[in-house]
Amino acid sequence: ARDRLRKWRDENERKSEDVVDLFISYIGSNLSKLGDEKWVVMEQVAIASMDMHNLPIAEDLIMELKERFPKSERVRLLQIQRLNLLGRHEDAMKGLDAMIDRDPTNSVPYKRKIAILKSLGRTTEAIKELSEYLNRFMSDQEAWSELCDLYLSEGEYNRAVFCAEELVLHTPHNFFVHQRLGDIRYTMGGIENLKLALSYYSQALKLNASSMRSIFGLFLSASSLSTNPRVPPADKKEYTRVVTWAVDQITKRYSGTNVLEDGKAEMLAGVFGALQIQG
């Protein structure tokens, strides 16, 4: 059990339900046997139990941790998380502001504060704080990704694109960031955006040939362009070629499974037909 907990800690996995279950069934009664590891485990379980809204377990652990590490900023974070759970969000944010004052180079309290604002639906403030945070911590990918999502939720597609492009700059070999840009450009619509979507999906596929999202995206973009009346015929031919290739790829992949048993194989053909008519 302790190995599993360690693995989840190292890999930063959010397996809160499992962590709490493990604690209740094994770890809780055997804490003393863990030696020095016990404090890290307690922190891990405290976080997990708050995620599961299990306040009693969390509070006991936080109390013990506070006794052992009275000046710890990490313990302070747990206390602030508890405030959140109790609905005392303003107090939690004040606590985070104080942490930021004490140490402006610690990125954690900034992000917690933004998370609270987001959960309260105060998206505009969350965006403002996150933008300021990124001015300081420019290479925080998770933050760029989060800001991208926030802009998308507000319909600010151009700004979302800017964030998504930052991610491509940071990790150009990651197919996912190209695919995501493809998704955003496709959503924005119009010939220029569709062309861009097509190129992003292509790049994603070059980096990861098995990405279904990318191949579906490629099909949709090419399909839309190939049936758009304002696209010159020479380009249309090219896009149609891409559509044919994509259809072939998709059909091949589905044929490798038996998910579309008898009768449903026509379904795929129907899908391609329907999407091309819609253009």
């Binding site: 999202r213 449903k264 379904m267």
Partner: protein, 216 residues
């Protein structure tokens, strides 16, 4: 555009949910508590002999997304696949469900409106179900739904009683048992299908069996 009254359309009083549909919606939401989720609701197509006598029952649900809510391509593709699936199995899309990301946020948003409007093109009586996140519990006391309908470019609340089949207590206890048995781990949505296309998100056969077993 005026809609021709359909004799099997929703009576303004009651919307019925079959156990299978109800469980799939709840399990989808439960599987991804930190994500916005959405999907469509189906029933068997009406056969002419049924005209006029049929209760409006939502019989099944197809879970679609738990990622990329604000971008459109995957949803578009899924809806087209689902349309074709319906053609091949004599089903029709009669509703759309959505659960927002935030616990306190139960309002239909621009995504709900956009998707509902699209679906309402083929079915003006589309039922839109918003999940009331704050009513979610491993021991549900009632169906945590608020109903809406597309009307003049907006989603307006729909006055109707929600009726769980075969009976409210039975349905609620079955879904609670499923949650406690962690059956939501077996639920497959379109996003899961994209990661592994051998997974059947249209039917969810494994889950159907589990629901069947627990309810008998």
């Amino acid at each position: 555009m005026s809609s021709v009254p359909d004799s099997s359309s929703v009576s303004n009083q009651q919307v019925n949910f079959d156990l299978r549909a109800f469980c799939k919606v709840i399990l989808h939401v439960t599987k991804y508590p930190q994500n916005p989720v959405n999907g469509v609701l189906l029933r068997e197509k009406r056969k002419d002999k049924d005209a006029g006598s049929r209760k409006f029952v939502i019989q099944d649900a197809i879970p679609v997304l738990h990622m990329s809510k604000y971008t459109t391509p995957m949803m578009e593709f899924a809806l087209t696949q689902i349309e074709q699936y319906c053609k091949g199995s004599d089903m029709e899309v009669v509703g759309y469900y959505q659960a927002n990301e935030s616990l306190k946020d139960n309002q239909p948003d621009i995504v709900a409106l956009r998707i509902s409007e699209k679906l309402a093109e083929s079915n003006p009586n589309l039922i839109v179900v918003m999940i009331n996140n704050d009513q979610l519990n491993s021991n549900l006391e009632c169906a945590p739904f608020t109903l809406y309908q597309v009307n003049e470019g907006k989603l307006r609340p729909k006055e109707a009683r929600i009726n769980l089949l075969p009976d409210e207590d039975g349905a609620l206890s079955t879904v609670s048992a499923l949650i406690q048995a962690k059956s939501y781990r077996h639920l497959i949505d379109f996003d899961n299908h994209l990661e592994d296309i051998s997974l059947n998100y249209w039917i969810n056969p494994t889950l159907n069996e589990e629901i069947e077993q627990l309810s008998s």
